[in-house]
């Protein structure tokens, strides 16, 4: 493997902070950040399954943490990250077929991601609350 550290620092392009945020750049960053959030959520998923396998006591501890106020807030954030990454991911898969690259399509699909992930998150929590009674 070649040495990753250069002898002289390479010239850097202007940092992200110098650019005005646009829908395109914000969604690109959001897709990456939501992926990182979901990586943490995946660890939680394994903890939850392992607790369920260990027995009712261990499951009770995890369940108690999940239904607590902070647990529900984190779960809500993870739900939004999930739907954002799902919708953003479908947008990326469409781009992979070399479709929707003109400026108008990029903004239409971008706003579609924002609206659909918000609506899906709210729908999921309303459905869950409705089933809980």
């Amino acid at each position: 493997m070649p040495d990753a550290t250069p002898k002289r620092p390479r010239p850097l392009s202007p940092h992200i902070q110098h650019y005005r945020p646009q829908l395109t750049s914000v969604l690109s960053i959001a897709n990456r950040v939501s992926g990182l959030v979901l990586s943490a959520f995946a660890i939680g998923l394994v903890v939850w399954l392992t607790a369920a396998a260990a027995g009712p006591q261990a499951y009770g501890v995890v369940h108690h943490a999940v239904v607590s106020w902070p647990g529900q807030a984190i779960l809500f954030g993870c739900t939004f990250a999930f739907f954002l990454h799902l919708c953003g991911g479908i947008r990326h898969l469409i781009w992979d077929t070399v479709h929707g690259f003109d400026l108008r399509s990029i903004y239409v699909s971008g706003w579609a991601v924002v609206v659909s992930s918000t609506v899906l998150t709210i729908t999921a929590w309303v459905a869950s609350a409705f089933l809980a009674g």
């Binding site: 992926g35 998923l45 396998a53």
Partner: protein, 129 residues
């Protein structure tokens, strides 16, 4: 150039390029993404449907063949996709010698977590199935 082929003639001649594995990872990320669309939607719908369920109801549901198989498939595709996604993030932002260690830790952690999750499901199936 063909509209559907975004690779340059040089890239076609030199494939798979200096990394030798890049296109495989690129494809694996997409294939796992496609698998995750139905699997994660099934998972989300199942969790919503089980709001308020107790331990017995949850383990009985998960120990049935279809949910157990789908959950194992979800873990495999989820951690494969997570490993590839985190690898790209590390390669983009880490330029020190710690990069190699981070890549190894991420890959091994994802394998360990996937195996731990699958074993947990099999234990639930063995006990409650």
């Amino acid at each position: 150039m063909d509209r559907r082929n975004t690779r340059s003639p040089l890239a076609d001649a030199a494939r798979p390029g200096s990394s030798h594995t890049g296109p495989c990872d690129w494809w694996a990320e997409r294939v796992s993404a496609i698998a995750l669309i139905p699997l994660t939607l099934w998972f989300a719908a199942s969790i919503i449907a089980h709001t308020g369920s107790d331990y017995a109801a949850f383990t009985t549901w998960l120990s049935a063949p279809a949910p157990a198989i789908l959950m194992i498939l979800l873990l495999i595709s989820l951690f494969h996709h997570t490993a590839l996604g985190l690898q790209v993030v590390i390669e983009d932002y880490m330029h020190t010698k710690a990069k190699f260690a981070a890549l190894v830790i991420v890959r091994l952690s994802c394998i360990a977590l996937a195996v731990a999750g699958i074993v947990a499901i099999l234990r639930i199936v063995a006990v409650h199935g």
